[in-house]
Symmetry: C2
Subunit: 323 residues, 2 copies
């Protein structure tokens, strides 16, 4: 259905269908506020806490939508993906809930903790070398062997429609938002946000936040075409991947602006969030807060939704202890 | 009013009055659940998250009740305490909200971060040597100079009535609890819990959890009289202090049992909570979870309220990194 070469753009109807489909398998995550951060920023911030989501991140929304939207016949062959991050966990969780096989291709160099987590959710891991060519070759083999349905981490209309349910909930939970800001890597969450808000709240501004060390989306946005970097290095390891055609479709049309933050700014914002809000968040989701704190003129006086994308952190390797 | 030698036992009416008094200054903290911990324990756990409380801990309930219950005349002279922990922060916060002076006597060896936090809330710090005799001498001077009202961290009926508002909220938020468990140090939270539950839900069991390394409450409970230790060492630094007459009154009458956990069990439970629930909790409030996981026969099948007492942690010195 979605495997062809013609780009299939999901609609807001798909978001509503996704929400109904995934509801039994996800949390309606809470929205937290912090008088400390409101004072510090001069804005009114509403943190949508997807770190409390099943499998620890928003990615489970898109993964569940893809998995539970499959026909029984397709589902029987299972699903597959290549990812060493939250998408691998989320797809394993979703497949486990449906009771179908899931294969994840991961570089053999991926952290043991990540592999253990995928296996903990019932995922089968097939290792590849840590290169794009090896990953693609191994992944093609897996699909040929199993007939599994490929669920891309973000460049997939089912995944984008699933991620769109997050801002749908946010607008139900908080009235009168002026804008929403989310981190951007491949652009799945930002695209889902664009899809939902352009339909139900087109007056709301959508901002994206990116590490300066992996600012391909920022440069793409300014250049008007996709620019992909080779292996950028940033502490926000969920945000290293480039935009693809489907996410570019949304980002280029509906995003108001993209801002960047340095590694130090990201780690500072992450630590400050742990200290003041008492929640465990990943480096990736500290990027929006870092951006708000350094661009106060843009956000002051606004009611801003901030998507906290996930909370899967290696507690033995905290970035502020490595500085 | 409360300064005499006759022990004044607070009543449930005092808890209700406290709740009305402090409501504008505290959060009604959320109750979180975790399917992971439910599965692990065999019980249904309801975590009352006082780590999200103002000033980062439940202590602000008792401190606000003491501060806002003062007559204008008494309040004008300010309040004072000796503490290097959450009570110091909480009393500073409460006094700041009322706009009255607050003095905290702290050992000069207390961590700079703690002192900065007290000052951040507007507290004045007077340093003493790290000994009981110095602390008492310096504190007496402060009170003589200022006429400030002493607010003890736990052995004070106003403070206990304030802490009792926590389990009052919990019973409003969760129906049909079989038991409640809280960490025990000086016994302020446990006494407040006893005060409230013995009045409105006397069938509910009250358990206390204590570090094995500072098990004076456990030994007191078994011996039937207060046993105080000299300077016990535990990672759960909020739980080193001994019971006093007023808290012993409640603990000896209403607590069903006290369980202990080792340092490793506490740190494991703390880290697991961060990993799976994505919340920042202090070592002290990991003790109840550690106790539940090692005494599954006691808690299995029950609906258990677990008081998460606070989230003030030095993120540069995490206990699992020191092992």
């Amino acid at each position: 259905m979605f495997g062809g070469d013609v780009m299939e753009i999901p609609s807001f109807e798909d978001v509503k269908a996704a929400h109904a489909r995934i509801k039994p398998y996800i949390h309606r995550t809470p929205v937290l506020t912090s008088s400390y951060f409101n004072e510090l920023s001069g804005a009114e911030l509403f943190f949508k806490c997807e770190n409390f989501q099943k499998a620890g991140a928003f990615k489970v929304r898109g993964a569940c939508n893809a998995v539970f939207g499959l026909s029984d016949e397709m589902a029987a062959k299972g699903v597959a993906t290549h990812s060493s991050g939250n998408h691998a966990l989320s797809l394993s969780y979703a497949a486990g809930r449906r009771g179908i096989p899931v294969t994840v291709v991961m570089p053999r160099t991926a952290p043991a903790a990540k592999k253990a987590a995928v296996r903990g959710y019932g995922g089968r891991i097939v290792e590849c070398e840590p290169s794009t060519s090896s990953r693609e070759a191994v992944f093609a083999e897996v699909v040929a062997e199993t007939g599994a349905e490929f669920v891309h981490p973000y460049n997939d209309p089912r995944v984008i429609a699933g991620q769109g349910t997050c801002s749908l909930e946010l607008t139900e939970q908080v009235e009168g938002l002026d804008s929403v800001i989310a981190p951007i890597g491949g652009g799945g969450m930002v695209s889902g946000t664009c899809l939902t808000l352009s339909s139900i709240a087109p007056q709301m501004k959508i901002y994206a936040a990116e590490p300066k060390n992996a600012d391909d989306a920022y440069r793409s946005f300014k250049a008007g075409r996709i620019i992909a970097d080779d292996a950028p290095q940033t502490v926000a390891d969920g945000l290293k991947v480039p935009l693809k055609d489907l996410t570019w479709h949304f980002v280029s049309r509906y995003v108001s602006d993209i801002f960047t933050a340095t590694e130090d700014e990201i780690v500072d914002a992450m630590k400050l969030t742990w200290e003041r809000m008492k929640i465990v968040i990943e480096p990736s989701c500290a990027v929006p807060l870092a951006v708000i704190l350094k661009n106060k003129d843009v956000f002051a006086g606004q009611r801003v939704g901030v998507i906290i994308t996930g909370g899967n952190v290696d507690l033995d390797r905290l970035p502020w202890l490595a500085r």
